[in-house]
């Protein structure tokens, strides 16, 4: 089914201030200025130079080696012809056309901890440091515009600092508990902190009982921004302890939740919990929060699409967080039989509770999908994502409450992990096409789609491929020679469309040959 799209123009017009990416960018200029490419996280580009008809002519344009790095999980951004490659304590700014370096910023010490992105906004590039600072660099020179110690003193997680309506949004992990923070983009002044694990004055504090409130709710990923409501829509991580849930009765809010938070005030507008009382470490943070304006059941709706690590897809009204529909997007699921009308999982028995002898759990803790990006194409109306079939075995070390736990890939050939690239109609749950990845059992890398009809699908073992978004047909492929864990981007520069992806310690850029045949 092809979706009818409405109100896209009005969204563009409502985008607040000059210099901000619109909800629908990369936009005509073909830039990629925030981690998900656009505020709606569709990771869909309007660029159409590369099509299924010419994709076979793609070639490498340049490779940039990020010396001293370790397997990059980073998605670069591109603005005004410059590509920014962020790490903890470091940014490399390179010419996005040639791959030639323009400036480097290195704050001591050099860090190889996983770092996932940045935003270029208000003339600045933003990164976290390993000693709990947040830094803004002049996008032209790498000069330090501000460098502030973060409020609370905890090191920020490796999520991309997200620029939204004058604020830079960041987060921390779950030891002891996750929170999201906003800082003023101009000055670095701390604006607010939202706690993923409720404080006693929060009504959802009662969703934790038993003898522990250990926390959790890691902010593993940046999310989306809805300029109309002025809310960020983010996912949170699992409750702690992750598997031994008997010591934390209740739903354990706001763990494993999608949350909408007002950018000006930091107040929670609504929440939707995907896995209440989680016992498998299925972070809701590990899945894209895709914002789509489309007709659902005959009415134009402001929708949120989310494929979750627990194996369910959720269609949600993003104005109030109400569940509209959902479905399992994997073949084998053994912890729940489906979703209630409110979108809560209907458990099968004890929901595959981890045990001393080991409990087969489908999907596994690694997840039916994970943090590398999904993409939504308004052209096809389909959501594309990595789906991992197969199961895990979850163990606990003893019957003692709060006992230690672990998980492994299922040793059984029939339930081992197999990665798929999957196209799904989000309005019906129907699988439109499916590509089984050879050798890969991993939940990544990320995907993007284009108005040219391309699905850019890099693979775990270094093979990047362009697929026909309508059919999944392989149009072109190339071996980068190293693992790929990151998510890709596309951008337009001087009349040429580029695709870029981090592989190992390098960034690759691809495009069509010039008329003269030179790269």
């Amino acid at each position: 089914m092809r979706l009818k799209h409405v109100a896209l123009t009005s969204l563009v017009l409502l985008t607040p201030a000059l210099g901000q990416p619109s909800i629908n960018n990369p936009g005509p200029s073909g830039e990629w200025t925030v981690y998900p490419g656009s505020y709606n996280s569709q990771r869909h580009s309007p660029l159409r130079q590369v099509t299924p008809a010419n994709a076979h002519r793609l070639q490498v344009k340049w490779v940039y080696h990020v010396a001293g790095s370790r397997e990059l999980e980073m998605t670069p951004v591109v603005k005004d012809g410059v590509m920014y490659i962020p790490q903890y304590n470091r940014v490399d700014a390179i010419d996005a056309k040639t791959g030639n370096v323009i400036w480097r910023y290195q704050r001591q010490p050099a860090s190889t901890a996983p770092y996932r992105g940045t935003s270029v906004y208000d003339g600045k590039v933003y990164i976290a440091t390993s000693d709990a600072h947040l830094v803004a660099l002049d996008a032209r020179s790498g000069g330090v515009v501000w460098d502030v110690a973060v409020d609370g003193g905890r090191r920020l997680s490796g999520v991309a600092p997200m620029a939204a309506n004058g604020k830079i949004i960041v987060g921390v992990l779950d030891q002891p508990d996750g929170y999201i923070q906003a800082y003023d983009a101009k000055t670095g002044k701390h604006a607010w902190t939202w706690h993923a694990i409720p404080r006693p004055e929060d009504p959802e504090y009662k969703s934790w009982s038993g003898n522990t409130k250990e926390g959790g709710g890691a902010i593993w990923m940046s999310g989306s921004y809805d300029p109309e409501q002025n809310v960020i829509i983010y996912g949170t991580g699992q409750p702690n302890p992750p598997y031994s849930n008997e010591v934390r009765e209740g739903d354990n809010l706001y763990s494993d939740s999608i949350v909408a938070i007002d950018v000006d005030t930091g107040k929670l507008k609504w929440h939707f919990q995907t896995t209440p009382h989680d016992q498998h470490d299925w972070d809701a943070a590990s899945g894209s929060q895709v914002l789509v304006d489309a007709v659902y059941e005959g009415k134009p709706r402001k929708l949120l699409m989310h494929a979750d690590r627990n194996g369910f897809f959720y269609l949600i009204d993003r104005t109030d967080g109400k569940f509209l529909r959902g479905n399992s997007f994997i073949d084998d699921m053994n912890w729940a039989t489906g979703l209630t009308p409110e979108g809560h999982p209907i458990l099968l028995g004890d929901g595959a509770k981890p045990s001393i002898k080991g409990t087969l759990t489908c999907p596994s803790t690694a997840g039916a999908t994970n943090w590398p990006s999904a993409t939504y194409s308004p052209e096809t109306g389909w959501l594309y994502f990595h789906a991992v079939e197969g199961c895990g075995v979850n163990f606990r070390s003893s019957v003692t409450p709060g006992a230690g736990t672990s998980y492994i890939e299922s040793p059984d050939d029939k339930t081992k992990w197999v990665s798929h690239i999957r196209a799904m109609d989000p309005m019906t749950g129907k699988r439109m096409w499916d590509v089984t990845e050879v050798r890969s059992n991993h939940y990544g890398p990320g995907l993007l789609s284009t108005a040219g009809g391309i699905l850019f699908a890099p693979g775990q073992f270094g093979h990047v491929a362009m697929l026909d978004a309508k059919t999944g047909k392989d149009l072109w492929h190339f071996n980068t020679g190293d693992f790929i864990t990151a998510s890709p981007i596309t951008y337009m520069l001087d009349g040429k469309q580029y695709f870029a992806i981090a592989s190992g310690t390098n960034v690759f850029a691809f495009g069509l040959p010039d008329a003269g045949g030179k790269p």
Binding site: G81, T98, N100, V101, S141, V144, L173
Partner: protein
Amino acid sequence: MKRLVMALMFAAAPAFAQSDMIAQGKAVYDKNCTACHGADAGAGDRAPAIVNASATSMRGERSDAQLLNVVRNGIPGTAMPAWGNRLSADELSSLGAYIHALRGTALDAPLAGDVARGRAVFFGKGGCDSCHMVEGRGGVLGPDLSNIAAIRKAVAISNALTKVQHRVYGDGGVHLPSPPIMAYEPVQVVTKSGQVLDGVMRNQDAWSVQFMTMDGKLHSMDRSGLKSVTIRSGSIMPTDYDKRLSADEFKDLMAFLTRQGMRPAPETKEAAE
């Protein structure tokens, strides 16, 4: 070495005790160590360098404590004797302070002067902020100086302000981890349509050139569209600040610059998703 001693002569007030100790340490070094390790600890006839003269950080070198242990206990089986019995505790610690200063950067021994007045010179009479940023303000044509004292010795900063032949960047021909950024060389680019652009270099290859024009705008141009690219060696930066400024102003500016930087805490371990 003369330059360093001159630089140290500026030191006063809070830095006095430290600089006093460094001077003592130099006397101990010159008397006992030069014969093998050479002047300024930069390698002699019979023993290796203790200080890598071209390095701008101490990463990968022995810590001060490790180094002093070697001095105290010697290295058995080599010509390096144990100095623990030959030097007093005071001599040993002053020797440590001297080697630390040799190996350290400006931030380890910031120069004396009026820092607030130095800031006023930076953003005022000196005009430094027309090209350089500090404290989040200033121009983008030259390198950001927010952390200059943590990566350069005081003498290197002073040289950059006063000597035509100074090294802005470069590690003395050692193997670099990746292709370096160009050193802000002045460039004039003339396009085939006759447009003349003046700026500083960022990078180039046989097919393209990346540079920043004086208005702070970055450009990447295909050489096929250019008539000429003329790069001059050296810098657009004046090197007569010891004459443009009074002695006090220069001293205050150095006091300001030798405090621009930080030594962040070591990295902590963090879980990976």
